[in-house]
């Protein structure tokens, strides 16, 4: 048994069978479930590295900064007045739970970037509480990412990232930064909080990119 000899891409090298393990709890495994994930059903686990921040909406804003022609600020009222979208997606946490058909409402990152002119290829999302996470800018645009403030028809609860969080459902959920307050665009990729602690810099659940080197 070695600690580091699993091939995370195939999950089959070396072939290893756990004596007596049948996977008794497995259900018909959905094609929507990435490898190594299980369906958490109606649960919705909460994971974060520190206390839940509490930012009053009068002090909340969302900023697009960094390598941009001009910094964009949205107050809460301005954010709320932007065109909104309903989003129904599956989400996948690196701790191996997935949740199907989650319903959110918010503003597309395409809308927040609007007329921003930038040569940047990367974004660093930053949050109340000091959390950050890095993403290629291309993964935030083209209708693939949102800043959401509603879950299942109700205001997003603080422990799930309220008042607003990033939603990037095609990547592991730590990329969907809770309590998000803005994006820093740049030409160079700067690693975020978990990424500096050994998590994968991209985080594709379908390729099991959990940790650096996967």
């Amino acid at each position: 048994m070695g600690a580091n000899d699993i091939d995370p891409n195939t999950g089959t090298t070396p072939r290893f069978v756990s004596r007596g393990f049948t996977g008794r709890a497995r259900r018909a495994r959905s094609a929507r479930l990435p490898p190594g994930q299980y369906d958490v059903g109606t649960g919705f686990p909460v994971l974060s590295a520190g206390p839940t921040p509490n930012t009053h909406l009068s002090r909340w804003d969302f900023t697009v900064q960094g390598q941009v022609d001009q910094v964009r600020h949205y107050s809460w009222a301005e954010f709320r007045s932007l065109p909104r979208e309903d989003v129904e997606v599956d989400i996948h946490c690196v701790t191996s739970w997935s949740k199907f058909d989650t319903r959110w409402e918010g503003v597309s990152v395409d809308t927040l970037l609007g007329d921003v002119e930038s040569e940047a290829e990367y974004a660093l999302a930053f949050s109340d509480g000091g959390y950050t996470t890095n993403l290629p800018l291309a993964d935030l645009t083209g209708g693939r990412a949102w800043v959401v403030d509603t879950y299942d028809g109700a205001p997003l609860r603080p422990e799930h990232g309220g008042p607003a969080r990033l939603l990037v459902p095609h990547l592991y959920f730590w990329k969907s930064a809770k309590w998000v307050r803005g994006l820093v665009l740049g030409e160079v990729e700067e690693l975020g909080f978990w990424e500096r602690f050994g998590y994968h810099r991209y985080g594709d659940p379908w390729r099991q990119q959990r940790y650096a080197g996967d």
Partner: protein, 230 residues
């Protein structure tokens, strides 16, 4: 797998000999992966209970209702079996061996497991850092790591939330702000605070610590298990 022993009525201690173990920091975890004959796999993360100095690796696994992985680890697994591990993982929720200032640990249920590693490390390194532990458990029988805690040589406060034995003179309620104020290091001392337990426990404790004046950047949390509603 060297041995699987009952730690509490619902938790087992897995003692492993790991070839080529690169060592770990107190507070880190491992991913355990199980593979069925047809290739189906399931994996979960478990905190390491043993200190870096131990010659073996201990995990304490709480059996969850309907737990596919925890059920196997606590009921099927036995000494001599092989287990597929990955790790150590996590560099955030770890004992700050070089950090100055006192440390406050606050555990709910099996949230005490990473603290057992930290306390073992504290003892093994003869650290003079002041450490306090506040540990909330359902009952005396549910206490994990009683052997380690008895030998840790630190100030430990236990509160029992459901049942207390006859003659129990300790605390017997859920952790609240009053308890935090009376039984944890004061914010004026700027302790580094680690909180580990189910989500609702961590939310309550972290909010209580903030209201007492602790700096949010000095509070590290790890949540597990219980799933909250939307």
């Amino acid at each position: 797998m060297l041995s699987v022993t009952a730690e509490t009525p619902t938790a087992s201690r897995l003692r492993l000999a790991v070839h080529d173990w690169a060592g770990h920091d107190a507070g880190q975890h491992v991913d355990v992966r199980l593979t069925a004959p047809d290739g189906y796999t399931a994996q979960r993360s478990y905190s390491i209970a043993s200190p870096p100095q131990a010659p073996h690796l201990d995990l304490v696994v709480e059996r969850l209702e309907d737990g596919e992985v925890s059920g196997y680890l606590t009921e099927e697994l036995r000494g001599g079996d092989l287990l597929e591990l990955r790790g150590p993982i996590g560099g955030y929720f770890v004992w700050p061996a070089t950090a100055a200032g006192p440390v406050q640990l606050i555990a709910g249920g099996s949230g005490v497991v990473p603290f057992l590693s930290m306390l073992g490390h504290h003892r093994a390194t003869r650290s003079e850092t002041q450490v306090r532990l506040l540990y909330s458990a359902r009952s005396e029988a549910d206490l994990i790591g009683t052997g380690e805690l008895a030998g840790a040589g630190i100030s430990t406060t236990v509160t029992l939330t459901r049942a207390a034995p006859p003659g129990w003179e300790g605390l017997r309620r859920r952790v609240d702000v009053t308890m935090l104020a009376e039984h944890t290091l004061a914010p004026e001392r700027s302790p580094l605070v680690f909180v580990c337990g189910p989500t609702s426990f961590v939310e309550t404790v972290a909010a209580g610590l903030l209201s007492l004046g602790h700096d949010q950047s000095r509070i590290k949390t790890e949540r597990f298990g219980a799933t909250g509603g939307p």
